[in-house]
Symmetry: C2
Subunit: 344 residues, 2 copies
DNA sequence: GCAGCGGTTTATAACGTTTCACAAGAGTCT
DNA sequence: AGACTCTTGTGAAACGTTATAAACCGCTGC
């Protein structure tokens, strides 16, 4: 009455039993045409809406999965999310997006909430991969798949960040750069750490002196931090300033690019820049940005499919799989060699 | 046993009654120190996790609200979402983001799901403002607030799009342009329609001939559509080509800008461009983009606060409020007058 | 006449919480 | 000692579904 009408109200209104209403909803083929119509009319008349909580409590799962994202402001993640949606749609699941905003507390809060909601599974790009919840959830029956990150205790889909970092740095080294800055952080994020490792390996493989590499750790991976880093670099006297920058993602790179240009540096002549992720805005930047591309939608789709599979055969033995995809370098103007650029 | 442990299991393990476990969880102050500890230990030992469905079924609301977004790929919306998060956090609510992807079917599916989940309320930027669900939900007790759109039957927070469109067009008219193209769509979106109306009004107020205005309707508001429109414009012979473009949002503008430049047009000399939303990438574009700025976070925060208020006094009489915010023009290089540009 | 038959419908027992009225003890005051 | 309070803990009744077993009904076939 006061609240929304329940199946009981519908049953009373249609002069049938509760069970019949349930049947109309769940196995319409077993109820006679006439009664079915009567019940449906009652439902429409009363504006009855199934109570998902009760449903879930009684019977099956939630038909819902969640994707906990590091930063919805970064188009990379929203593209990954598209892939997730696609895969979920295909099997009739809905996706809730949760933005941790690179905040551990929020990540924890969401994980608690999602477990309590009994979602079918959780996809996550963790801020804090050390959170015990990440191992607890699967142990208690909520599968967790790592997206764009890896962990021995979960299924995961990620792009080989070491290879990506190496790709970026090798490109710059081949361009004659030796004094390169790596900009990114926090280093506790595995993506960032791995990309840096890749950059170091490039120095090694190239036979260059890794002491020429400067690491600028940032507090986050967004445009603001990029601008800050750009200002710092531009403030250095020419001699001590790196001639190229490897950024841990495109958000940083775009901010850095913008600020560097504003402060009078020429890109790529004074400062070559390479980003990471190849977000859709990289190509449209002031100076089109060289970037390491990742198969974004594929990451999302694959991760969701793995999650769904894991949720399906929850009881049956499940082997965690690590799917590693390959990054690809897209060269654009921000790092392109010009006649002016001497070769080391 | 098989499934996750329930409060009953915890009670048995701790050798207390069910009610006591509940008390430990909900009113810890009423239970004696010793028993409380024993129960907490049992909870930890068994890895008990509250079942939110049962909780909700029995008692109160879901402590959750949802934001159904037109396109998570558009940073404008993710910024609005930040504002929503902020306001929700402040009162201890969680936010689920749902991406309708400009797809009516998906919007409907989400609305159904959310109503069944009994969320506290729904924020939405509708693809299809004609969907009956939008009026049904509030009538049945789930408050709905329009974000960046308006409707007489709901609370809403939006920016005066007519004023915004007029701002953009007036700026171009003052720059001497007469042959302007409006690019945006679908026109069924109120934002798009209103911005176009504003452009027309600018012509009227300026005493210019509105027949010089060309309308290019697009299928969506994304970069791809922008590129397509850019190609179309660039393909026109110089005489018939508009000298300026008003885009319905920045995604379109950035795509259009990129393609126009690629096809050899100079911006703003051959083609001036004004975008809408002033997303963070507008400033970092190939040619920094003039745009109509909206107070994104404020929109989200205000909308969420209104939703929360409406949900709180659900029964008490509630008057729908329309909060209209003011747009602001940010002039950058993509429309800046150069000495070369003659004045009409 | 009676067992047996689909085809329909019904009554009832869960599911895991929260809440509320009440019981069991331990003090306190007369 | 009896009548009180106060502090803790208990038991049972909801909440709105779904599933399962049983009941009903009008027939058919023997």
């Amino acid at each position: 009455m006061a609240g929304s009408p329940s199946m009981k109200d519908v049953a009373a209104y249609a002069r049938v039993s509760l069970g019949t209403v349930s049947n109309v909803l769940n196995r319409p083929e077993v109820v006679a045409e006439a009664t079915r119509k009567r019940v449906l009319a009652a439902i429409a008349e009363l504006g009855f809406v199934r109570n998902e909580s009760a449903r879930q409590l009684r019977g099956g799962g939630s038909r819902t999965l969640a994707f906990v994202v590091l930063d919805t402001g970064n188009p990379f993640f929203t593209d990954v999310a598209q892939g997730v949606q696609e895969a979920a749609d295909a099997v009739g699941l809905s996706v809730f997006l949760c933005d941790s905003g690179q905040d551990r507390r929020r990540q924890s809060a969401y994980l608690d909430l999602l477990e309590q909601q009994r979602v079918e599974g959780v996809l996550i790009t963790p801020v804090d991969s050390g959170d015990e919840r990440l191992t607890l959830l699967p142990r208690r029956g909520t599968p967790v798949v790592m997206v764009d990150a890896h962990s021995p205790d979960h299924c995961s889909v990620y792009v080989d960040d070491v290879a990506g970092g190496e790709l970026a740095a090798t490109h710059l080294l081949e361009g004659g750069h030796r004094h390169i800055a790596f900009v990114g952080g926090p280093l506790s994020l595995s993506q960032v750490a791995d990309r840096l490792t890749g950059v170091r390996e490039a120095y090694a493989h190239f036979g260059a002196d890794v002491d020429d590499l400067v690491v600028l750790e940032t507090a986050a991976l967004d445009i603001m931090e990029g601008r800050r880093a750009g200002a710092r670099l531009a403030g250095l006297p020419g001699r001590r300033r790196p001639t190229a920058v490897c950024c841990a993602n495109d958000m940083l790179a775009l901010g850095l690019l913008q600020e560097a240009v504003r402060l009078g540096l020429r890109v790529p002549e004074d400062l070559a820049i390479v980003g990471y992720d190849d977000i859709v805005f990289a190509e449209a930047a002031a100076v089109p940005l060289t970037s390491v591309a990742q198969p974004r939608q594929l990451i999302g789709r694959t991760a969701a499919e793995m999650l769904i599979a894991e949720a399906r055969d929850r009881d049956a033995g499940h082997e965690h799989r690590q799917v590693v995809l390959a990054p690809e370098l897209v060269v654009r103007a921000s790092s392109r060699l010009r006649p002016l650029d001497g070769v080391a």
